[in-house]
Subunit: 364 residues, 2 copies
């Protein structure tokens, strides 16, 4: 059953500077966030859910007059995986995003114009440090962190950077770092944006946006989110109508990708796509800390790690790498590879399977 | 040992019309081809090798003053897989190509301008029918056909369309039809070209070419030709120098892809890329003939089918589909999946493994 509740995105303004990994400082910034459920008196029931590349703070419920709920509405709510009867769930837009939290499309107070490429290059660590400010503001000292894909990387980083805060960590369809193939796909996506005739070195906010480049980036992304099985199941080799014998759209899979590209440019900022994919590429706690063991040794968290059998972007083997490290460190870790035909997208689709496991892990 | 011989590309002009699958007729056309070795007196020792998406007639030996040999020089020559001591090897550029055979960059005699998108949409069947004219011209009645990737599709089509001609068929890293994922990658590649600001509906020959779009198409292609293992082996997560904290090239894999994109635009025509990828997408003898069994039932050929363990673009399972059909039809078929870490590219790289098998199959 879907939720029917209404939620509003709130904005938290932070007026103290934050030092970023790249060496630059952001003087002030805003964090867009939503909450679901009720924080208990001792503030011990908070779950921070963390979004993936193109997600936002709107994880569940409906915005007023909206026809679609948040991106993880199947997972957050009464009696759901993240049960609002018991937990207080927090979701915020990442630093560098375009959905309320400060990013390249935000106004640079100094120039009174959008930051564009003057916005500092941000990292997963920076995203997490900004989320920490939100958690501090809410007065929370102990949290559960959970996320899929890039959200999982943030959850992992929480358990590395704030070991005293994190009670439990749920990592879904994620890895400690991207593999070379995933970096390659991101490079193609960024190339398509950077080479778009309307890109104008990122200063496109007053003119035509680099929509073609961003649409191509999204198409590439969608291929990697599905797997061959999912594509076959969804589209086979079916023609849209019949062969066109021109360069229009022939196959249903083409039609699907074109549609995904088109609707994406209306809801996402091309510069944010550049910044967030770069953050994905850069994240590498193995390199940053010398080893994953070293990165995680101070963690007080227990871990639930879920991978999906047909996910070729964030593979089961990459999940197992984290699992093996945690076992070596004698941490409490549960791991399951779920059978799925949905590829990487499974973390957004296979909610029944995930719900059972997450509920059991959270002891609900 | 590499060949040191010099070869020239020859041009065969065909002045009789050819009816194409799309319904249109091409009044006249040219075929660029090369030959290696000597045709014997009864013209029974010919092997037609068939190139992949971006290949050309120059399969082996050197062009005068060239520093690089043809694309399958490791496989064609004295004592090689296709042994010039024994065989007469023929290679021609495909219809729709940009390396001598008539294609969208050729001059349309009626308008005195390049065809551009007025060139009829061509198919694998059309390519093969044009190759047949070359074989007729050379007076050959029995041939061996061999090719990798799209070359394998042409070889398969030869055995379907000209069963009386084909003695032996060698299919390498290929399939009877692309799967939905491969079509999706082609769709992204074409989209990048079609949306390039310089594309001008294909009429770019007198101005700037759609180089950015074509480079992106090539980058996408290269990701699919390698596999994750190959990428890891080649690049790992190594930085070019150190993190740039900007949107330049950071990782070696990005540098490789950018380089591949850049050099490709100097040697290939964007319109040809559109036409040839469309031919790849359309090829589907299962649909055309009702079943693969039906398509191949008249074949008099024996078959050698080779797949590569890490090829995810043309998978072993797709090769096995052809193998199973041939077994059902009581045809003579040999099949081997070669272990390789090179992905789809293996058919251009793993020449030692292929040589042993092909020599044995050809009884040399």
């Amino acid at each position: 059953m879907g939720n029917t509740k209404i939620v509003e995105t709130k904005i938290l303004k932070i007026n103290e500077p934050i030092k970023l990994q790249c060496g630059k400082t952001l003087e002030e910034y805003e964090i867009a966030y939503e909450t679901y459920g009720k924080l208990n008196e001792d503030k011990s029931n908070a779950i921070l859910v963390l979004h993936a590349l193109t997600g936002d703070a709107h994880a569940a419920y409906y915005h007023k007059n909206a026809t679609k709920p948040g991106w993880w509405d199947d997972m957050i709510g009464e009696n759901k995986a993240f049960d609002t009867n018991k937990f207080f769930i927090i979701s915020s837009n990442v630093l560098g995003g375009c959905k309320g939290t400060t990013g390249p499309s935000s106004i640079n107070k100094e120039t009174k114009k959008p930051w564009a490429l003057d916005f500092p290059v941000i990292t997963i660590e920076d995203m997490v440090n900004v989320q920490k400010k939100l958690i501090d503001y809410l007065g929370i000292k102990k949290i559960i962190v959970a996320g899929g894909s890039m959200g999982g990387m943030q959850a992992l980083e929480w358990s590395i950077a704030y070991p005293e805060y994190v009670k439990s960590t749920i990592l879904i369809a994620t890895s400690a770092r991207l593999n070379a193939q995933a970096i390659a796909f991101n490079a193609v996506a960024r190339n398509a944006i950077l080479k778009d005739a309307n890109f104008n070195n990122g200063n496109y906010y007053d003119s035509k946006h680099p929509e073609n480049g961003l649409a191509i980036a999204r198409m590439v992304g969608h291929i990697t989110y599905l797997c061959q099985e999912a594509m076959y199941k969804k589209f086979g080799r079916e023609f849209k109508e019949k062969p066109s014998f021109d360069f229009g759209v022939d196959f249903q899979v083409e039609s699907y990708l074109e549609h995904q590209g088109k609707i994406f440019v209306d809801r996402f900022d091309a510069n944010s796509y550049l910044y967030i994919t770069k953050a994905l590429d850069y994240y590498d706690p193995i390199k940053t800390h010398g080893s994953l063991e070293n990165a995680l040794k101070e963690s007080k968290s227990n871990f639930l790690i879920i991978s999906f059998s047909t996910d070729w972007l964030f593979t089961t083997e990459q999940s197992k790498q984290i699992v093996r490290t945690l076992i070596k460190l004698n941490k409490n870790v549960s791991f399951v590879e779920l059978e799925s035909k949905c590829g990487h997208d499974a973390f957004l689709l296979e909610f029944e399977k995930q719900t059972k496991i997450i509920k059991s892990f959270l002891g609900v």
